[in-house]
Each structure stands twice: as C-alpha cells, then as structure tokens.
Symmetry: C2
Subunit: 126 residues, 2 copies
DNA sequence: TTGATATTCAACCCAGAGGTTGAATGATGC
DNA sequence: GCATCATTCAACCTCTGGGTTGAATATCAA
C-alpha cells in the first residue's frame, strides 16, 4: 500500500522514531552534540548503517548536522517530536471526550429511568 | 538496515502511526466503533488495502476487533499511544534538563566572572 | 437453495528500508 | 607530498510496506 507521493512531517517523524537504533541515537544526542563515529560506536553494525540512520533522522529534522573540519557534529532538534506529541495528545483528547459523552448519556438515561420508575424513597441519592 | 528480528511495542506503534491513512482510520474510530467497509469508504483505495492497514493497527494493538455476524466492528485502543506519548515526554524531559544544566553552568560562570572582575557596586543583585 | 453482502486469503508488483562491502572525498598531521 | 582519519557515495542484497486483482469463506435474506 503505497503511502502518498509526498509523505508529510508527521509521517517522517514517526517513521524515523519507529526504530530502536534511531531512538537510541536520539537518546544519546539528548546528552549533547556528538560525532558520527562516536555515535556509531556502541552499535553492532557498520558505520555506514549508522550513517544511513542518521540521514533518516535528518530527513525528519529530528537531527541537525554541523560540519567542523572533517568531523560532523550531530545534535537533537526537538520540534518535530513536539508536533508528534501534540498529535497524540489531540487524538487522546478526542477519544476521551467521546467516552465522556457516552458516559454522560448513560447517566442521563439512568436519571430519566429513576424519575419515571418510582423506587425513589426521598433521601436515598448517594 | 534490517531492524532486530523482534520489533518491540514502540516500534510497532510508531510504525503504525507513521501513515496518514492509518491515522485517519484511528481518528474515525475515536468517534466510535465502525465496520470495515464503512471505514474504507472515504479512501481512494481498495477495500483490501484498508483491510491491510487495519491489520497493521491491530498488530500494534491500537485497534480491537469484535465480530458480529459477518460484520467486523473495529474500535480504538488508546494504551499503546499512551506509551508512545510517554516515551516522547521522557525524551523531551531528558533534553530540556540537559539544556537547563547548560544554562545553569553559563549563569554560574557569569557570576564567577562578576565576582572576580570588580564592576560590582554594593546593592545591584536584583 | 440461492444469491447478495462483508470480509479475508493468496498471489503478485514495485518502491523503499535496513544492512553489507568497497571505493571516493576531504581534512589533518607530519 | 603522504599516510591517516572521518565521513559519505555507490552498488548490491533481502525483507517488508503499500498497493492491486481475483478467489475463498461466512453470514444474511429470500
């Protein structure tokens, strides 16, 4: 199922985050700017593979690169993740308000039923 | 770059979310249980394609299926998204505390500089 | 039964993800 | 200039993702 020709921000961000290697890289970067080689060192894969992961993160703008001589210094950029987090928050809000509405509805029905069917001796609510 | 043989929860969740069709499906489901065909209707792709998307969402446990006769009723399950949101929150916290530490350090240096280099008329610290 | 409806299964296609190896490019240090 | 270090580029491999079409399986309704 080919996703649209133009993947949007969220797509790229979430895709980039959907890999443990890349999440580990980000975690490392949260501790500060790091060189590519240094970043690659803990992983059981070629430097090239890590380099590719980095490119994915850059494409998602989760990582910025600053060249200094022959070294490339990577750093974390939080904005896209903030956006993703906001999407999730909105989604959750959407979901919970729906549940709330359902709940309200049920309570409403209960009250109506209580009002019409009498078993309702004066002071027994709560 | 083949990611580990056993993708974990987060991987599956984020991967599932990294597609606009699937996000749209979830959005629709937040409004309540829906049949597969009904869910597929707004999309410009085959029913089969949507069916596959649904399977991806189920694999990530973002969607639950309830059979009722020949109809399959899908509903949203928020838990995995909560977990993903928590990961992001942790990541952001990590990041901001690092920035905070850096900030503190700089202020500390400023104060030290101010203390040694005299321009420091008695009552000027706020 | 028989026919329609709801859904999946199976096979296939193509593009892209994740990995490898080997060579190219570009600073650095002598 | 020359070897070395940091990094990417290029080509290749395999597996999966997203899509298609056509057939199979259940259920409903007559």
């Amino acid at each position: 199922m080919r996703t649209p020709a133009t993947p949007n921000h969220l797509d790229q961000t979430l895709l980039a985050l959907a890999d443990p290697t890349r999440r580990a890289i980000l975690q490392r970067l949260a501790a500060g700017e790091t060189r590519v080689t240094e970043l690659a060192q803990p992983f059981a894969m070629s430097l090239n593979a890590v380099s590719k992961h980095i490119r994915v993160l850059e494409r998602a703008k989760l990582v910025r690169r600053r060249r200094e001589g022959r070294e490339h210094l990577l750093s974390f950029t939080p904005k896209p993740m903030d956006e993703a987090a906001r999407w999730m928050e909105a989604q959750r809000a959407n979901w919970t308000t729906r549940l709330q509405a359902l709940d309200d509805l049920l309570q409403e029905e209960d009250r109506a039923a209580a009002a019409s069917a009498p078993p309702h001796p004066k002071g027994r609510t709560r």
